[in-house]
Subunit: 187 residues, 2 copies
């Protein structure tokens, strides 16, 4: 096997998702993932600390891009709009991969430990967005609540997006959910 492995990370992710989906997360070994991807275990561990991280490393990158989106808004942007920009950034990043998002979600839904991990990551996203809003000078309650409402919007929009069969874009589903939050809160 050549030492140069084009898109090793992507191949490992794809192989892992397929194995988790077909035989379950617990029953899949790193050796099997590497073999299916045509790579070595050593290469696997160059990209991921363990087989769980394959499912969650994308979320870390996503949180970073959302925080950057909040930070990048012009001074004077309303906090809900700054969080809206973060959600759009996430929507653009995930949007083209509904099939793998759906497969990943099915794997997580089948395993309590993974569900717990997913919720921990969402809670961490809420904290990261709170910090990003606080850094823009928003008051504590405003920052905390806008961030958590943003996470709620993201969670609901993402669920809807992977649950529907039409061709809706994630960014549009997110925009619809933000509009609905505004409508609900102003009732």
């Amino acid at each position: 096997m050549s030492r140069w492995q084009p898109n090793a990370r992507g191949r490992l992710e794809e192989a892992a998702l397929q194995l988790y989906a077909s035989r379950g997360f617990d029953a899949t070994t790193v050796a099997e993932i590497a073999e299916r991807a045509g790579l070595t275990e050593r290469t696997f561990f160059r990209h991921f600390t363990d087989k769980r991280e394959v499912l969650f490393s994308g979320q870390t990158a996503l949180t970073e891009s959302m925080v950057a989106a909040v930070a990048g808004q012009p001074t004077g942007t309303a906090p809900i709009d700054a969080v809206g920009a973060a959600l759009r950034a996430a929507g653009m990043a995930i949007g083209g991969r509904r099939d793998s998002a759906r497969q990943r979600q099915a794997v997580i839904a089948a395993n309590t430990g993974l569900q717990e991990r997913e919720l921990i990551k969402l809670a961490a996203l809420g904290v990261a967005l709170t910090d990003a809003l606080r850094a823009r000078g928003e008051a504590e309650l405003t920052a905390r609540l806008t961030a958590e409402a943003g996470v709620a919007v993201f969670k609901v929009a993402f669920e809807r997006w992977i649950g529907t069969d039409d061709d809706a874009e994630l960014v549009d589903v997110i925009a619809e959910a933000i509009d609905e939050l505004r409508a609900v809160a102003s009732a």
Copy 2:
């Protein structure tokens, strides 16, 4: 020991919280909890399935009272107001026990497994409130989003309430958070 044990459940809860706080959740045994409460292990297991449930059984009762509050609102109540009623019900139920709420939260914060459990319970609260709103005839997106926004408000208000040293009542902190959500979403 008499078979009649006044407030056995409350005594077990208090003993468990004290032990979890002083020596850690993992290091505490059911036998120690029962002994400290002046009761038997048998009595413990009549009230709780395991030592983790001591921390979370209250949340189950809380979810039930919140769902009942949503269901009990007059026809035509705006969904955000129905959820507001649920949050007030929770605030009234927890409100008088800030010290034990704070102690419980510190125990949970010190243990990843308990944090995950807490987040699973909060997610379940979101689902239960969604179902309660759907049963009132609210559209799917409205029900899901209002419920999750309600959970976000509850989470933020509860954090603030256990984190402050003033005498604020939980119901008032919740009302302030709902007002802030309205303000944020209408910006």
